[in-house]
């Protein structure tokens, strides 16, 4: 055992050194010691933790100046479970500020580089989580997914990411973006399906500190990892989703799809009609919940203190530290939930959400899986879209439906910076990882 511990320490030091030297900027804070000595399923596995997830005694910035010096006073449930199983936290991953962004460029600590396609965006908001895995600095990372925040950077960086069923992994310790949509989400390298499965089995299940897990069953991802058999499966492909994609993406997607078709799966082309309203519903709900969640950042009780003679003035100055995208979302969220306008926006968005959710859930009753590209295009150049928020938002169209419906969805590589997305019924997390494993075992490669 002592030898093991020594090995773990040596590997930790080595990766720490690599991470410090890396130009990818995938960490905001690096750990100083390997920490605990627990042995278990994940013994010695090096983990990155997105910087909106609390690790006791480590800085937690959420990629923002307002939390630049905030020390988390407690462990998130996922962190507690991972370290109890022997995982070792290497550092806190860079991210778009408060998870607002899908390019990894909105961090107060600088943009995250894409290790697969240098010069392009890494995707977001869990940019550092996917990039640090892609660069081989850590074995796996825990990010979060609110509207595609793990699947998008996983696609752009060429790794696999899973957004679990809503409520199956405790959110306790995950700083809020949009509470009804999000949860922690793991990412690992292509070929790391078994590790990802172990991570899921470790972090999932009931947690009394998060009510969304009230009826959660622990996943059995490892046990079911080799159970995937495409023959006889019925896979839905929403054709209208492909209309949003570049020809490069469509071609890569059809190629990956044929791999399943050739293995005996039935591919059925369908229309996901509510896709038209999914993006609007997602953004309005997210803005609203985000504006509420962000009320607490006033610099009075924690975080960077604002200067000022009055309470109001110091709150205003502290909140002026928030970046432009965060402020934009707070302002819109405050507007759409105000007494005068909530009927026109917020309540309609909730109704639209129900609409998307029921259509997608119905589709997943009659089909085993739903397949789509993860992102409609390949990663673009850094800085290319940063001044066009609407264009940036539009790229989330294929990932948000799973969040609105609370169902699991994963992304695996299908081309350079391109992700193949599988969506499963509620609690079907296991089958997504098993499908990825199948692709890998059968020698699939783009």
């Amino acid at each position: 055992m002592a030898g093991d511990r020594e090995g773990i320490r040596r590997r930790f030091e080595e990766r720490l050194l690599l991470s410090r030297k890396s130009s990818g900027n995938s960490f905001i804070t690096l750990a100083s010691t390997p920490g605990g000595t627990a042995s278990g399923q994940l013994s010695g596995k090096l983990a990155g933790i997105k910087d909106n997830i609390a690790v006791k005694g480590m800085r937690m910035t959420c990629g923002s100046r307002i939390l630049e010096n905030y020390m988390a006073p407690y462990d998130a449930t996922v962190v507690e479970r991972l370290t109890h199983s022997g995982a070792v936290v290497l550092g806190k991953n860079n991210m778009d500020e408060f998870a607002c962004g899908s390019s990894g460029e909105n961090s107060a600590f600088g943009a995250t580089g894409n290790p697969l396609l240098p010069g392009t965006v890494s995707g977001g908001s869990s940019s550092g989580s996917a990039a640090s895995v892609g660069e081989g600095l850590v074995d796996f990372s825990i990010g979060s997914d609110t509207g595609g925040s793990i699947r998008c950077p996983a696609a752009y960086c060429g790794v696999i990411g899973l957004k679990p069923t809503y409520g199956r992994v405790s959110r306790y310790g995950l700083a809020d973006l949009s509470m009804s949509l999000e949860g922690p989400a793991p990412v690992a390298a292509w070929g790391g399906e078994e590790l990802l499965a172990s991570v899921m089995d470790c972090i999932s299940g009931f947690d009394r500190r998060d009510q969304s897990t009230a009826s959660a069953r622990k996943t059995e991802c490892v046990r079911q990892l080799d159970s995937f058999d495409p023959s006889g499966l019925n896979i839905a492909v929403p054709e209208n989703a492909l209309l949003h994609c570049t020809p490069q993406v469509v071609a890569a997607f059809e190629h990956a799809l044929s791999f399943m078709g050739d293995a005996g799966a039935t591919v059925e082309r369908v229309q996901l009609k509510s896709l038209d309203v999914a993006l609007s519903a997602y953004y309005l709900i997210m803005y609203s919940e985000f504006a509420s969640a962000m009320q607490r950042y006033d610099g009075l009780k924690f975080g960077t203190r604002g200067e000022g003679y009055t309470v109001e003035e110091s709150i205003l100055n502290a909140r002026s530290l928030l970046g432009p995208e965060v402020r934009r979302r707070i302002m819109i969220g405050t507007y759409v939930t105000s007494a005068e306008t909530r009927g026109a926006w917020y309540e309609r968005a909730l109704a639209a959400r129900d609409h998307v959710s029921s259509e997608l859930n119905d589709m997943l009753k009659s089909h085993d899986l739903l397949a789509m590209p993860t992102m409609p295009s390949a990663p673009y150049r850094l800085g290319e879209r940063i001044n066009d928020p609407l264009l940036m938002y539009a790229s989330d169209i294929l990932t948000v439906p799973a969040n609105l419906a609370g169902v699991p969805a994963g992304s695996m590589p299908m081309g350079p910076g391109l992700g193949f997305q599988l969506v499963a019924p509620r609690n079907g997390d296991e089958s997504i990882l098993a499908a990825f494993r199948y692709f890998n075992r059968r020698g699939w490669h783009w």
């Binding site: 909106n52 407690y74 700083a175 509470m179 500190r209 969304s212 924690f302 105000s338 909530r342």
Partner: protein, 450 residues
């Protein structure tokens, strides 16, 4: 000339239910005694990433018990917890968690009720020092709201007294801090004025009286009464405009996405009876209301009353329980549950029965009662004491002795100061060691005094 203005008064009673834990976390709900900022955790200090636990069930059950006693309609649909947004230094997340009504309608003292819901208290902000104590942050509250149908301060007093009585009877309130009250009052021709954060029933009465005077004075002089929120200064007994205006604020109420709505209709609630029904029947059968209220404020005292009344009569029993029994308990700082324990009630009821039927003197009764409280078994003593009174000859002899050794007092009696006879009765009783009825002693003394 002063206008006789009709008043419309409404109350928002923020009750502190007796709970171990806070509303949405496992921290102790003690904010009165603990050192500042010691009963706190990531949840009640609003740390990034913290999530609320499900609503404190003790608080929810207390609300349901109140709702049932007040004949309110318990919500048939699941009850959501809401977020009420506003910036204030005592509010860690800058939103307060409150809830949809768990019940609506119902009546108290004949006045319509609007609703009852749960919420969490903010922390305590000391504006002068600029410090915040978050021990109170997240402490459970039940807010009972009346319709604005009360007509005067005494209506408010009656409603609050009954609320307190109900809370005490159900044993669901913190005795040291039962509630704080917001009240609104409007006179005909004026806007609605809200007075916030009043900590006592007398404070509410005084604040309403003050507002009535203030508003009618303005109206008399043809000045407008504007809609505003004021606070009550308990020391100066006056209301003042709030430093922070919040009339125009939009709280952006929103369902808390982290809290699962609660199906309150499915929660089992113990049936502990209705204190108002008990009060009514006690008074109807002859008990004095003041005594009856003192008894109904505690279910052990109600139990004691029923036992005593079955061996005597309601007037005697209410007086005995409310004054004698409660007096002994208060003197010894004992909880009323003491009387119900270890066969004490049987002895107490026997003493009361003998006393009320005249088989036991006041002095013997009191002394036996005290013995019970001191933990002695008095059954044997009761049998020997009961009915043992001095005979007529000894009464006469003692009366003669007392008169002859107090000639000046006897003289004053004869000159018309008849009340001095009480002094002589006391002296006789002492000599007789309490083994006599006061009325018999009076007869003996009068006979001697002529």
């Amino acid at each position: 000339m002063a206008l006789v203005a009709a008043q419309k008064i409404g109350l928002e009673i923020h009750i502190y239910p007796r709970t171990q834990c806070k509303m949405f976390c496992a921290c102790s709900s003690d904010f009165l005694h603990a050192e500042a900022n010691t009963n706190v955790c990531p949840v009640c200090t609003g740390q990034p990433g913290s999530k609320p636990m499900s609503p404190n069930m003790a608080c929810v059950v207390a609300g349901l018990q109140m709702a049932r006693t007040l004949s309110m309609d318990i919500s048939a649909s699941p009850v959501s917890t809401l977020r009420k947004h506003y910036f204030y230094p005592d509010l860690p997340s800058n939103y307060q968690r409150t809830a949809e009504p768990l019940a609506t309608g119902g009546k108290l003292q004949g006045f319509e009720l609007r609703e009852i819901h749960w919420e969490e208290d903010p922390g305590q902000y000391d504006m002068a020092k600029g410090v915040v104590d978050l021990n109170r942050s997240g402490v459970p509250l039940l807010e009972l709201v009346t319709e604005p149908v009360l007509r005067n301060p005494s209506d408010a007093k009656a409603v609050l007294n009954d609320t307190l009585l109900l809370l005490q009877y159900l044993e669901i309130v913190r005795e040291e801090a039962p509630f704080k009250v917001d009240t609104n009052i409007s006179l005909e021709g004026g806007e609605r004025v809200e007075v916030k954060n009043i900590n006592s029933i007398s404070g509410v009465v005084r604040a309403l009286e003050f507002e009535f005077e203030r508003q009618s004075d303005l109206l008399d002089r043809g000045l407008p009464v504007q809609q505003e929120t004021r606070h009550f200064d308990e020391i100066k007994m006056k209301t003042y405009p709030m430093r922070f205006k919040e009339t125009a604020e939009d709280y952006r109420y929103m369902r808390d996405p982290d809290i699962i709505p609660l199906n309150v209709g499915e929660i089992a609630v113990p049936d502990l009876g209705n204190p108002f029904t008990i009060l009514e029947s006690m008074c109807a059968s002859g008990a004095r209301e003041e005594d009856a209220r003192a008894i109904v404020s505690n279910r052990d005292l109600v139990f004691a009353y029923n036992r005593v009344a079955s061996g005597s009569n309601p007037l005697f029993a209410s007086h005995f329980v409310a004054r004698d029994l409660r007096g002994e308990l208060n003197f010894r700082k004992m909880p009323p549950s003491f009387v119900a324990g270890e066969g004490r009630m049987t002895q107490i009821a026997a003493i009361a029965a003998a006393w009320s039927s005249g088989r036991l003197s006041n002095q013997s009764s009191t002394s036996l009662l005290r013995s019970v409280f001191e933990g002695r078994d008095v059954s044997a003593e009761l049998r020997t004491t009961e009915g043992v009174f001095a005979d007529e000859a000894s009464l006469d002899r003692v009366a003669a002795e007392v008169i002859s050794s107090n000639p000046d007092v006897a003289e004053r009696y004869r000159k018309g100061s008849t009340e001095v006879i009480n002094y002589l009765v006391g002296l006789c009783m002492k000599k007789l060691e309490g083994k006599a009825r006061a009325r018999d002693v009076v007869v003996a003394l009068r006979r001697r005094l002529g």
